[in-house]
C-alpha cells in the first residue's frame, strides 16, 4: 500500500504495482478488490469463455476455432501421456486448468495497459506450493512410508547416505521455490526490459527508432516466452507428479 506512493509513475517497475480498485476492510484485514484479482478473474473468464464458446457446436469435424481448443486440449493430454503415462489421466483437469490459467495470465499481460499477474512471486509461489502439496500428498497416500525411499538413492554406501539424504531432502524442498521463481523472474524481467527500452525511445528523440525496432522484436520474444514459461511450468508439474506416482527421479 505504501509502496504505491514510493514508486514513481515513470519507473519501469510502476507496472507491477498492485492497485486497489476499491477500499474494503474486514476486521482490520484489507480485502479490497485489487488489480491483480481483477486480472486473475479476467484470465479465468477469458479462458472459460473461449473454451466453452469454441466447443459449443461439438462438431465431429472441427472448425477453425474448435480446432484451436482441441489442439489446446490435446497438447496437455499428450504432455501428460508422455511424462506420466496412463496413470496421469486423473490429474488432467488440474494440469489443464493450471496451464490455461498461467498462459492466459501471461498473454493478457502482453496487452498494452494491462497487468501481468504472474509477475508477482506471491501468485507463482502459491501455484507452485499447490503443486508441491498435491504431489507430496499423492506420494504419501500412494506409497505410505515407502515415499521416504524417494530421498534415499539406490546403491549409495551407508556413510555417504548421511550426506546424500539431507541434500536430497533440501533439493526436494527447493522445488516449489525454483518452480515459482522461474516463472516470476521471466515475466518480471521481460516486462521491465520492455518498459526500459520504451523509455529509451522517448529519451533518444530521432534515434529512438533504434530502441523502437528492438521493442518490436522483444515484444515478439516476450509473447513466445509467455507461452513457453506456461509450458515449462506445466511440464515441470507433470514431472513432479510423475515422481510422486512412480517414485523415481
Amino acid at each position: 500500500m505504501s509502496v504505491e506512493r514510493h514508486i514513481d509513475h515513470s519507473s519501469p517497475m510502476y507496472q507491477f504495482v498492485i492497485g486497489r480498485l476499491n477500499d474494503w476492510q474486514l476486521g482490520g484485514l484489507d480485502i479490497s478488490f485489487s488489480k491483480a484479482a481483477a486480472f486473475m478473474f479476467g484470465a479465468v473468464i477469458v479462458a472459460t469463455l473461449f473454451l466453452v464458446l469454441t466447443t459449443s457446436k461439438r462438431a465431429i469435424v472441427p472448425g477453425r476455432w474448435q480446432s484451436v481448443s482441441e489442439l489446446w486440449y490435446e497438447f496437455i493430454a499428450d504432455m501428460i501421456k508422455e511424462t506420466i503415462g496412463s496413470e496421469g489421466r486423473k490429474y488432467f483437469p488440474f494440469v489443464f486448468s493450471l496451464f490455461s490459467f498461467i498462459v492466459m495470465c501471461n498473454l493478457i499481460g502482453m496487452l498494452p495497459y494491462s497487468y501481468t499477474v504472474t509477475s508477482h512471486i506471491a501468485v507463482t509461489i502459491m501455484l507452485a506450493l499447490s503443486v508441491f502439496v498435491l504431489t507430496t500428498f499423492i506420494g504419501i497416500t500412494r506409497h505410505g512410508t515407502n515415499f521416504l525411499s524417494f530421498f534415499v538413492p539406490k546403491g549409495v554406501p551407508f556413510v555417504m547416505l548421511l550426506l546424500v539424504v539431507p541434500i536430497e531432502v533440501l533439493s526436494y524442498f527447493m522445488r516449489p521455490i525454483s518452480h515459482s521463481v522461474r516463472l516470476f523472474a521471466n515475466m518480471t524481467a521481460g516486462h521491465t526490459m520492455l518498459k526500459v527500452f520504451g523509455s529509451f525511445v522517448v529519451q533518444m528523440g530521432v534515434f529512438g527508432v533504434l530502441p523502437f525496432a528492438l521493442i518490436v522484436a522483444l515484444t515478439g520474444l516476450e509473447v513466445a516466452i509467455a507461452v513457453l514459461q506456461a509450458y515449462v511450468f506445466t511440464i515441470l508439474t507433470c514431472l513432479y507428479l510423475n515422481d510422486a506416482i512412480h517414485l523415481e527421479h
Partner: protein, 148 residues
C-alpha cells in the same frame, strides 16, 4: 517463434478435413462415415502434410531464441535458488541459535549441492526429452520416406 508457422499449419488440416467430410457424406449412406474412418483419413492427411502433432509441437517449442533462453533459465535458476534459499536458512538458524557462522557455512555447501543436484537432474531430463523428440522425428521421416 512459431508465429509464422502456426496460421498456415492451422489452416491446412481444416481444409483437408472439410474436403474429406464432404466426400464422406456423398459416399456414405444416411449416417455418413464412421468415426474410425474419419479418424483414419484425418491422420492420413496429417501425415501427408507432415504434421505429426505432439512430437512436432514439442519440437517447435524447443526451437527458437525464446526456447534457448528458457532452457538456460530452467537450469541456472535451480542453482541460484537453492544456494540463496539454503544460505538464508543457515543464516536464520544462526540467528536463532546464536551460532554464527557455522550453520550458514554448512547450509551454503548443502545448498550448493542441492542446487547442482536439481540442475543436473533437470539437464538430464531435458536431454532425454530432446533425444525422444529427435527419435520420433527420425521415425516419422523414415515412415514418410518409405511411403514415397
Amino acid at each position: 517463434m512459431s508465429d509464422p508457422q502456426h496460421p498456415s499449419s492451422g489452416e491446412q488440416p481444416a481444409q483437408v478435413t472439410t474436403q474429406d467430410s464432404t466426400q464422406g457424406a456423398s459416399e456414405g449412406s444416411s449416417q455418413g462415415p464412421s468415426l474410425d474412418e474419419l479418424g483414419g483419413r484425418i491422420s492420413k492427411a496429417r501425415h501427408g502434410a507432415g504434421l505429426d502433432k505432439s512430437a512436432e509441437e514439442l519440437g517447435e517449442l524447443e526451437r527458437g531464441a525464446g526456447a534457448d533462453l528458457s532452457a538456460a533459465w530452467r537450469i541456472s535458476i535451480e542453482i541460484v535458488v537453492a544456494l540463496v534459499v539454503c544460505t538464508a536458512i543457515g543464516w536464520a538458524l544462526d540467528y536463532w541459535f546464536g551460532t554464527k557462522p557455522w550453520f550458514m557455512l554448512l547450509f551454503l555447501f548443502l545448498g550448493g549441492a542441492a542446487g547442482i543436484n536439481n540442475a543436473v537432474r533437470t539437464a538430464l531430463r531435458m536431454d532425454a526429452q530432446a533425444a525422444e523428440v529427435m527419435q520420433r522425428k527420425a521415425q516419422t521421416k523414415a515412415s514418410t520416406a518409405k511411403k514415397e
